[in-house]
Structure formats: C-alpha cells, structure tokens
Assembly symmetry: C2
Homo-oligomer: 364 residues x 2
C-alpha cells in the first residue's frame, strides 16, 4: 500500500512550491535583464472590505507591484525575498520559528535591515499575501499558546512524531496548542460540539467538572484573543466534522470581540481564508446574562465605553445577539467576568448556566 | 499489598487536618464563651528578612493575633474563617480553583464582603501563613500556565486520572503545568539536568532542536515570572533527584529577576518553604554574553535602569555572577533578548551558546 500522504504534508509541499515559484519568477526576471518585481494584492485600508457572503473581511481587487527598479521599493523588495528564503529554509528543514526569531534572523544577515520588529512582521504579512498562505504554513508561529482538551484522537506530523497518535484527554491540564497540534491530523472523536473559552481558569474548571463528557464537547482555551493557529483548528473541526461551536467569554467589549474574531476573523487577516467560523455562536456572557443571573459586576471604564461605540460602527455587529447585547452593555454600564458565576458555587456554570445557554443557542 | 499512599494524598490529608484544627480551635473558643481568635506570623515588611542560611526571605518571630473581639479585626477574621471553609471544600471535593474564583465565590456568600480581589488574595495569603501551607496545597492555583517537556514519567493523582502514568515527551508542543502536573508524582527519568527558559518561543526552539536529548535535560518554560507551582516542581526535581538547574532568560533586569526568584523566591512568599532552588544557576543571557557573542541589542529604558538600581540594593544580588553582570548591564546600557541568537541561525543557541554556558557553569 502506498504511504498515505497527510494533509499537513500536502500543505507543506504546496507551500514549498509557492516559494519556489516566487524565487523562479525573480530569477527569470533577472535572467531576462529585467529589474525583478512581485505582484500582490494591496493591503491598504481602502482595499479591505467586509464581505457578507463569506462573512469575513477580504482584500479587494487592487494590486500593487513591488518593483526593485523603484528606489522606494528596493528595501521592502529585498526584505521580501530574504523572508521568502527564510520561509523556504523553515519548510525544507521542517522547522518552526516565531515572528521575533524571524526578525532577529534577518538582523544577522548582511544587507537585510529592519528598523524594528513591526517592519519585519509587515513583510511576513506581505509574503502571506504573495503566496496566499498563512505564515503558519511556512512555519512562523505566534508565541501565545492556547490549549485543547477532549476526546479527539490526533496524529502528529512533525519530525520525530510522524504517525504518532494521541488522545487529547491524556493530560488533565490540557494539551498546549503549538506547531505540533496545529499541524496534526484529526483522526476520530466522539465529541459533537466545541466549547471555546477565553480564560485558562474557566478551561481548568471545565476540565475538572468533566464538561467534555457532560456536553460531549471538545474544550478549547484561547488565552485571550485567539491565536490564528487556534482559529484554524476551530475552523477545521467545524468544517470537517460539522461540529457546532459555542463561544463564551467575559461579559465585556473585549470578550465580545474575542468571540467575533473567531466567527469572522480580523481585518489584519483579510488576505487569508480558513481561519473563520461564521456559524460559531457567541453564547455569553451577555449583558442580559448579567441581569438574568444577577452576576457580580464591575462598572464599565471609559475605555470599555469607547470600545463598545467602536464595535457599534463595525458591520459585523449589525445583527443580534451582537447588536442588542452591545446596546444593553451600554445601557446597564456594567460588565462581568466568567468567574462571576462562582458566586453560586464553582460548578454552577457547568450545571446550570452552560446547559441553559447551549440549549437556547441550539433552539435559535 | 496495601495500597501505596501517594505523596499528593499525604499532602492533601495534612492540609485537611490543618484546616480541621483551625476550625476546631474557633469552635472550642466559642464553646468556652470566648471571642475566637487566630494566631499567625506577621507578614508586615519589618518582619520579613533575608536568611543567608536557607538562602531565601523568611518571616521573623513576630506574631499577630487576629481577634474577633477587636472591631477592626472582625472583618478579616470572618473572611479568614470563610476562606478556610472554602479551602476545606476544595480539599474535600478534590477540586481546584483560582484566586479570582475564590474572590467571586466569597461575593456570593451572605455577609462575606470584599472591597476588591486584592483583599481576597491577601486573606488567602493569611491562610497560607496560618496553616503553614502554600495555597496550591488547598487547591487555589494561579491562572498563568507554564510548560514542561522531557523524558520523565509522571503519575497523576487528580480524580479520574489516579495512577495513570505519562511520559512528558508525549506531546511535542509540551505539557502544560496546571493542577494535575503539579500534584503528580515523579516516577522515573533519564534526564540529569533541568533547563529553565522564560519564553515560549525558546521552549519550542529547544523542543524542536531536541535539546532534551542533546543535553539530557528536562525543559521547563516559565512563561515569564514563574508561577509558584512551577517553582515547586523545579525544587522537587532538584532536591529529590539532585538535578542541577540551569536558567536562561532575556538579558535584561527582568530576566535577571526571573532567574533570582527561581533560586531564592520572593518576599511575598517568605512564609513558604519548598519553592526555592538556591543552587540553581543563572547561565544567561548575561551582559557579558551581549559583548562576547556580539548580540543585537536594544538600549536600556529609564525603567530598566531604575530596576537595575533596585536590584543592586537587594542582598540576594551581592554575589557574582549577579553583581558583576548587573554592573555590566549598567555600564553598557544595553539589553538583549533570548531570540537575539537567531542572528547566527536558529540552531546556534542549542549548538553553540548553551553547551558553552552549561560547561562553564558546571566547571565553576
């Protein structure tokens, strides 16, 4: 039997191809006596628009040509070519790196200059656009780590672990989501839904209360705004296995936006697909939950209020529950954290709140 | 054969005993017609001193009596008794909680008032002092999570996982250090040293470069200032198995202090034992490494400089390498991050820097 080629391996080869093509293009241009250039979609703000059809921000049709003949472009052009070389090395050697390591690696190379890490991050995003691939595909990961727990068997594809399977209930503290989990294949599961929480404390609570069994769920901890690798895992679980996704966050504008970014992505990632889960449902903590469950609250700060006003101007918040909940937050001028449910005992959130909210979300 | 009683189980029973004693004391006092009181060591600054013998901060002999007859003491006395009840529930039910959940749980109880979480955290520390136990012993954990990786087999003791063994190389993204790993027993290992890093990116780099094999080491990621549970794991590995501990951090005052806290603890935990590893060695990034390895640097900020001056006033920094390195940081006015070594390629830190520094530390 021929060796099965994993999805991760296919991705890796496609990325490698893309990088080689980019390099060949530049070589060909030079061979033909041309100043080399690269064409890509513009990422300027006026070329980013919300697409209600795919339910995420996307880049428009405007293209830019980064041309080494243009004195202003030589620097970013050179940086882009170097970054592509660095990415290719990562892919070839099956290594990963972080944005920061990529920046420092550049600083070690002759003639590749960056003013600061922001400039380097920016070029990495350019490479994503040029290749139409997420940087995780070419091995550049964020430092933040989220976690996962639940009855799902995965198969690793990273060097030294190829083909090794593991069940994500193996470790009661949860499994960190790093390059290895992100590039793994999902083999089988008994779960039929995904519960996403923004906080480690609540994640631990859910594991401890065996919420994965009670709700037949895979538990995912985003550690605040979820890293893209975690969003891509949520996307895959939802798409491949049709699992509904329920998100619960702190009841404040920041929690609201953490949920929204899982649903529809961010403007920064308008050039990427496969990171959003438009059908994911934000089930709480809603402003109405604060009232209905008589939660301990804090007053909204000026910063919170400003943020709520910004969210109201964003087209993604024009429908309920987003719209009405934002209005209600503004009306009651209060916020509440996930942990606020502890006032009714540590297990209340699992025994009472979540079942009610999931039932309501399923019915709607 | 009698069932083996795990170390964690013994700890749990001792904590349960301590809490019962505290409760009995209060009951007895009431039964005898007395206003109940609790005696504990004072945590005020003038009762905290550095003990060069045990090489950590300790509490002095001064005691305070928290007396319910004193109108000023009624509030903290009641809070302490409630917190002890809450802790006992955690221990009895084998649950864990966070500082924040404890605070919100209190807010749900009649007559237990807190102005803010700080007040609640403070009372939890009082309970630590009264019981002479770390709050992790009575199930209250921090939210921050660090990670561990390496050839060590542990046995879980948490409900549902009792007796289950796992090897900490099972997951190439590392194993999160939460309540389950913290309360596990260490069964066997082939490692003979511990490498502690402060950053996730470097942790991932070490795993990817198989540093655990190259150095025969257990890798620990502290995620910044290390949580107490992680410090207690480092302490145990050092004490039980005699493993030397090598710490490497960013080359700046914050990194220096992360290393120092692993060695000698913090003044906040002066009432606790078992969290420090006085023989752990801070091996870098030193100010002299910045010069010797020609690392890319940033200038020290005013904030960095102020912090270095503070460290100079701390008795724990009166010996080398601390002393000379702090002086050198001040002299060169530069700092460097762990990732700065990437300028020489991603593997340089594992191929060259670490072997050199570990060899030097071992020779010294």
């Amino acid at each position: 039997m021929a060796k099965r080629i994993s999805e991760a391996e296919k991705q890796r080869e496609a990325t490698d191809q893309g990088l080689k093509q980019l390099g060949s293009l530049v070589y060909d241009q030079i061979n033909q006596g041309e100043f080399p250039w690269v064409m890509m979609q513009s990422r300027s703000i006026d070329n980013i628009q919300y697409d209600p059809h795919v339910r995420q921000y996307i880049l428009g049709d405007r293209m830019i040509k980064r041309h080494s003949r243009n004195i202003k472009h030589i620097r970013p052009f050179t940086q882009l070519v170097w970054t592509a070389w660095f990415a290719r090395e990562l892919v070839r050697q099956r290594k990963t790196s972080t944005l920061r390591e990529a920046y420092y690696s550049a600083r070690g190379q002759r003639d590749i200059e960056y003013t600061d890490q922001q400039e380097s991050d920016n070029i990495i995003t350019d490479l994503e656009v040029a290749l139409n691939k997420a940087r995780e595909d070419f091995g550049i990961f964020p430092e933040e780590r989220s976690a996962i727990f639940g009855d799902i068997t995965i198969e690793y594809t990273v060097p030294g672990y190829e083909g090794r399977r593991t069940n994500l209930t193996d470790h009661p503290d949860g499994i960190m989501v790093g390059p290895a989990v992100t590039s793994s294949e999902f083999i089988e599961t008994t779960a039929n839904k995904i519960l996403v929480v923004e906080k480690g404390a609540m994640f631990t609570r859910l594991v401890e209360e065996q919420a994965h069994k009670k709700f037949n769920a895979i538990l995912i901890h985003t550690a605040g705004q979820s890293p893209r690798s975690t969003r891509s895992i949520i996307h895959r679980l939802n798409k491949d296995w049709g699992m509904p996704v329920y998100i619960f966050t702190d009841g404040d504008p920041w929690g609201v936006h953490i949920a929204q970014v899982i649903c529809s992505g961010s403007a920064n990632a308008a050039h990427l697909r496969g990171l959003t889960t438009p059908d994911a449902q934000w089930i709480g903590v809603w402003a109405s939950d604060i009232i209905d469950y008589k939660l301990p609250t804090e007053n909204l700060t000026e910063f919170d209020k400003k943020r709520l006003t910004e969210l109201q101007a964003d087209p993604r918040y024009s429908e309920d529950p987003w719209k009405e909940q934002i209005e209600l937050f503004i009306k009651i001028q209060k916020k509440a954290e996930l942990e606020a449910f502890s006032r009714y005992g540590l297990t209340y959130i699992v025994d009472k709140y979540l079942p009610e909210k999931i039932a309501a979300a399923t019915a709607s």
